[in-house]
Symmetry: C2
């Protein structure tokens, strides 16, 4: 099932995606709720980021192919060392944008790249859970783009502006509850051209492992999002581009790019 | 003026602190609101963390005395290099606890220390503002404890469990709107004994500079909190301790410590 969050006439709600229609859900998606008979055409509403998370986590360097790509472009010794450790970090909720929202390139950055990723959506409060228990705490999955400023920023001792600048966290278009998270392909297109394709089967730390490991120290809350890493090569974005992250079983996250 | 957030009988509200009483505020503290005539004794309610921030930022290594202390205990080369750069990071809202809430020492950590700090409370959305404009975007200040797990965790390539573990973010007890943030003393006591005292005049990046610099890349939202760094020495906490962070012009943040 696909759950979307949308806005129409200044009013926000969750809905179930039924073909090209949204069927309105009344109540709390993460608690008591029921399906109504009210429907809106998707084309007539604004699709919002699928949740309002308390925390927006990310796990970097989580695919061998991506690590190999980054080693060619960045500090090889650091990348290789970091890739061996589970090291989630907070992308920051203030970076979040949704479907069709614009990625704005900061005027200080000389190179901003896309990273198409599978995103975990937490469904229930999770603390000290095992990988085996993790599926019970996950509501579903969406698409994400871990937009990253590199170039002259690559040697910053912290990733705060590289990774958490405003608009650097596109997620959406909606949540799919019924996929096997380790057997979907992530396709990244820029201006309609396929730039990268990789299977989530290549993750170093899989989704259940990731949720379990974060939950050993931090409570994950309903609606929290976790970016699970880019599978392969990444490349720069320029004003006027349109970047799409497609996971066929979920949908396609699409964002235009503009200069500040 | 002091603004506190509190709970009584399952009901939450903001209030103005008047001596040992809380005078209830109706409306949105960050927007339209007015003072009512309803009052509660502070001793009869639960004081909550002073805001529900979207983002909880921190600036580390922001005092020369603290850097000198950390150089003795940790990787001197890294600490010295990092202290020269403005490098905020996200503490994570899921770590936040309030007055009298318990700091829980994770069973995996062999050394957890306190860091008493001044905390900036954002009052209005701030983006690309100058240090001169910053006071207009700050509502006030509170006390914070940047609880940190070190020891065997010190060499983690990310600070996610060192700094963002559950209960590692005590803040409170309330917001003071009328202080000069660069001329207050921060006193840290463990079990009533003063362990450290330092003036905020020693900050490398002062509060207005900090807000301005973060806002160049990230929108700060009303209620967002920024820890501004520990002024001096830090030391370990053990089960049964009570740690207090006092800034006389604001109040005293007090938290007991327990094993998991």
């Amino acid at each position: 099932m696909k759950f979307a969050r949308f806005e129409t006439n200044g009013w926000e709600s969750y809905a179930v995606v039924e073909g090209d229609q949204l069927r309105v859900i009344q109540g709390d998606l993460f608690g008591q709720h029921h399906f109504t008979d009210a429907r809106y055409p998707i084309s007539g509403v604004k699709i919002l980021p699928p949740t309002r998370p308390k925390s927006f986590w990310a796990v970097g360097l989580n695919y061998a192919d991506h690590v190999a790509h980054q080693v060619e472009n960045l500090d090889a010794e650091r990348i290789t060392r970091d890739a061996q450790t589970f090291r989630p970090w907070q992308k920051g909720v203030s970076s979040i944008i949704g479907q069709d929202d614009t990625i704005v390139l900061p005027k200080e950055s000389d190179y901003v790249h896309y990273e198409g990723e599978l995103v975990i959506v937490i469904g229930k409060p999770a603390r000290r859970i095992t990988p085996e228990e993790a599926p019970n705490f996950i509501l579903g999955y969406t698409c994400g783009n871990d937009v990253s400023g590199e170039g002259s920023w690559s040697n910053d001792p912290s990733n705060w502006r590289k990774k958490t600048s405003d608009t650097f966290g596109p997620v959406g278009p909606w949540i799919e509850t019924d996929i096997d998270p380790q057997s979907v392909d992530i396709i990244t297109r820029v201006n309609g051209k396929e730039n990268d394709r990789g299977s989530t089967s290549g993750m170093t730390f899989n989704c259940y492992e990731t949720v379990s490991r974060i939950s050993q120290f931090v409570t994950l809350h309903p609606g929290d999002l976790i970016l699970t890493g880019a599978p392969g090569a990444v490349d720069g974005l320029k004003p006027g581009d349109v970047v799409e992250i497609e996971i066929a079983e979920i949908g396609t996250l699409r964002n235009p790019v503009a200069a500040e």
